[in-house]
């Protein structure tokens, strides 16, 4: 047992979780004791900032942090909002639980994390410690629902950690638009370990907007697993601008034929930020389609990494997979790593990928300058344009407005002068 897993076991004992002996928790804890958390020596973790783990306290934050409702992001019209503070449900800030939303309390978190999956180990940590969570469940053919789950992190990691948990299960042909937002108190330095588990039934459609807007001193580890049945659609839009060190792991299996996955991810890093993401998409059934897009910008001394792996299993004939991964280097000391990977075990497939990492185009910049635009404005505009692909297809106007406003703020305030 490593020093880290020993500390986890110690904190687990200290946490005095009421259902500490419940099977899902114990299973997760034991699996962690065996396999440990990833280290930078692990192939898919070399860009993540794992040092933050050395300092924090794994015990769940006590809860009860005061949140000013006026400080929350503006509500999105048509979406019903549920709020969690430090991983705990906050009824005073939330809509009344309805048919689609249920609270997951204590060790009831039953999602089957495959312990054999080395890249899902942070989900085990969540499963061991999460005290609360949201379960969104829609029955077969449920008409389109629109929900927002807002996870706020307000407590510093020295006091305790935040374990947001979200389980989504859509019956056949059900439809859900889901906003999942991670934000927090401005000055806080929380540790947030989120786990999202998604199961989509045959013909179901999930449009999932994920916004990672955590305060600048946060550490975020995130694991998303999704299983797609036949002919279902999963459309993921993820935008990561916050936290000091962030790592998102996405493990998606297209398990049914003709399932359709689109993912559009944007990540921005500046100063000393680390934005690391790993996506493994497994085509396990015939004629499924994936379109994966990534746009990342690294400024200052930031590191922005995206590793996108597509695995086409034997028997997944007729797979169609496209990857477009682009990184923009916006600082002399910044780092961009974009890496597409393909593993194909069948013949009849169409897989394409493009990956680039570079600077802004000099010709584009000169064109804008020649029209009289200030250099700073031109640079900002080009960065905006670079990211635009990643949020162009967001069809919720108010959400899109908030995203654009946030990005404009991020692009404006940060050190742009280092560019080029």
């Amino acid at each position: 047992m490593s020093a880290l897993t020993a500390r986890i076991a110690q904190d687990y004992a200290a946490a005095e979780l009421p259902d500490a002996q419940a099977a899902p928790r114990r299973t997760a804890l034991e699996a962690l004791a065996t396999c440990g958390l990833p280290t930078s020596r692990d192939e898919n973790w070399k860009y993540a900032n794992l040092r933050a783990l050395e300092r924090l306290r794994f015990v769940p934050a006590a809860g009860g942090a005061a949140v000013d409702p006026a400080a929350l992001p503006a509500p999105i019209p048509g979406f019903t909002r549920y709020v969690f503070v430090d991983g705990r449900f906050a009824p005073a800030l939330s809509a009344a639980p309805g048919a689609a939303f249920a609270r997951l309390q204590g060790g009831a978190a039953a999602a089957a994390v495959r312990p054999a999956d080395g890249d899902a180990r942070f989900a085990l940590l969540n499963q061991a410690f999460a005290t609360d969570g949201a379960r969104l469940q829609l029955p077969a053919a449920a008409g389109r629902q629109r929900l927002e789950i807002l996870f706020l992190a307000c407590t510093d990691s020295a006091q305790g950690s935040s374990y947001p948990r979200l389980e989504v299960s859509l019956g056949p042909d059900a439809q859900l638009d889901l906003i999942e937002r991670h934000a927090g108190a401005a000055g806080a330095a929380p540790f947030v370990n989120s786990a999202v588990d998604i199961a989509l039934g045959r013909g179901a459609v999930l449009t999932h907007y994920r916004l990672q807007e955590l305060p600048p001193r946060s550490t975020h580890f995130d694991t998303l697993t999704a299983t797609l049945a036949a002919r279902c659609g999963y459309h993921l839009h993820a935008i990561a601008t916050g936290a000091q060190a962030a790592r998102s792991t996405q493990l998606v299996q297209l398990a049914g034929e003709e399932a359709h996955l689109t993912t559009a991810l944007a990540a921005l890093g500046d100063a000393q930020q680390v934005q690391d993401a790993y996506a493994r998409i497994e085509h396990a059934a015939p004629r499924a389609r994936t379109e994966q897009l990534f746009r990342g910008i690294a400024a200052g001394r930031a590191r922005v990494a995206f590793n996108g792996k597509v695995v086409v299993a034997a028997g997944a004939a007729g797979t169609d997979s496209q990857q477009s991964l682009r990184g923009l280097l916006a600082g002399a000391q910044a780092e961009i790593d974009v890496r597409p990977q393909l593993e194909i075990y069948t013949d009849d497939v169409r897989c394409s990928h493009g990956a680039t990492a570079g600077k802004l185009d000099d010709n584009m910049l000169f064109y804008l300058l020649s029209r009289g635009l200030e250099r700073q404005v031109a640079l900002r505009l080009l960065k905006w344009a670079f990211l635009a692909d990643a949020f162009a297809r967001i069809e919720v106007p108010e959400l899109r407005r908030q995203i654009e406003e946030n990005l404009a703020g991020v692009l404006q305030d940060r050190a742009l002068k280092e560019l080029l």
Partner: protein, 256 residues
């Protein structure tokens, strides 16, 4: 041509090189207010280099000579300040910028200029009315406004877009770098109509072109022939016709 004091643009003994290769070799030219000059010349004579140097494109090194614009040292200004001072470069190869839409660029450009002049930002409604009017002139569809800058445009659409930008920005000096290249006759007429629209006693134009075809529609006051980085011959519009008849060899032979 023009009395030295009143020239809008005054280029003297300009030498410039690209990647260590000398392209301009002592070029001198004065452009007065309201004048239209055509600069012709064989491939590689330095026509586009001249346009790029004047607009401030990076990668061009001026090794000697001077350029003044309304009495200011043009070469000391960064490209965006040259533009705001009233210089407009129509690109030979307009750049595609996906994700930045046309109307946004036009508005940002107009506001940058107004800001320099101490004017408030343009009213959004008035601005759109103005742009639509100019678009009609350039026979451009309304949908163009929300498209990315030059994104997926045909060659002709790109050139029309350059002229549209020029009409909206109303520069003191328009420098059009082979705006006629790659245009069919209908598009050429539209582009020429746009250029003529801007002609006035205050505004000047330098047309860089390989063929005299454009000059049938935009009649220049002066024609210059550039050979090996300097002006080898100047004249009025009949010089262009003579060039057409006799070919560039006629001038390059003389200049040798």
């Amino acid at each position: 041509m023009t009395a030295p004091g009143s020239a809008l643009l005054r280029i003297e003994n300009l030498h410039a090189s690209v990647a260590g290769k000398k392209i301009l070799n002592g070029l001198s030219l004065s452009v007065g207010r309201g004048e239209v000059h055509a600069i012709m010349g064989p491939n590689g004579s330095g026509k586009s280099t001249l346009a790029s140097v004047l607009a401030g494109r990076p990668g061009y090194e001026v090794t000697a000579g001077s350029v003044s614009f309304e009495g200011r040292d043009l070469l000391a200004l960064p490209p965006e300040e040259r533009a705001r001072a009233g210089l407009f470069l129509g690109f030979q190869y307009p750049v595609e910028i996906p994700g930045v839409n046309n109307v946004y660029l036009l508005k940002a450009a107009v506001n940058a200029q107004r800001n320099t002049q101490g004017l408030p930002e343009v009213d959004a409604f008035d601005f759109l009315t103005l742009v639509r009017e100019k678009m009609q002139l350039m026979r451009m569809e309304d949908s163009f406004l929300s498209r990315g800058v030059n994104e997926g445009f045909s060659g002709g659409e790109k050139k029309r877009n350059e002229i549209l930008q020029m009409l909206v920005l109303e520069p003191k000096l328009a420098l059009l770098d082979e705006t006629d290249s790659g245009l069919d006759i209908d598009a050429l007429k539209v582009v020429a109509g746009g250029v003529n629209r801007l002609r006035s006693p205050e505004r000047s134009c330098v047309l860089v072109t390989h063929y005299q075809r454009l000059l049938e529609y935009v009649v220049p006051d002066f024609v210059h022939v550039l050979v090996r980085g300097r002006i080898a011959k100047s004249g009025d519009r009949t010089l262009a016709l003579e060039l057409e008849r006799r070919g560039y060899d006629w001038v390059t032979g003389e200049a040798a």
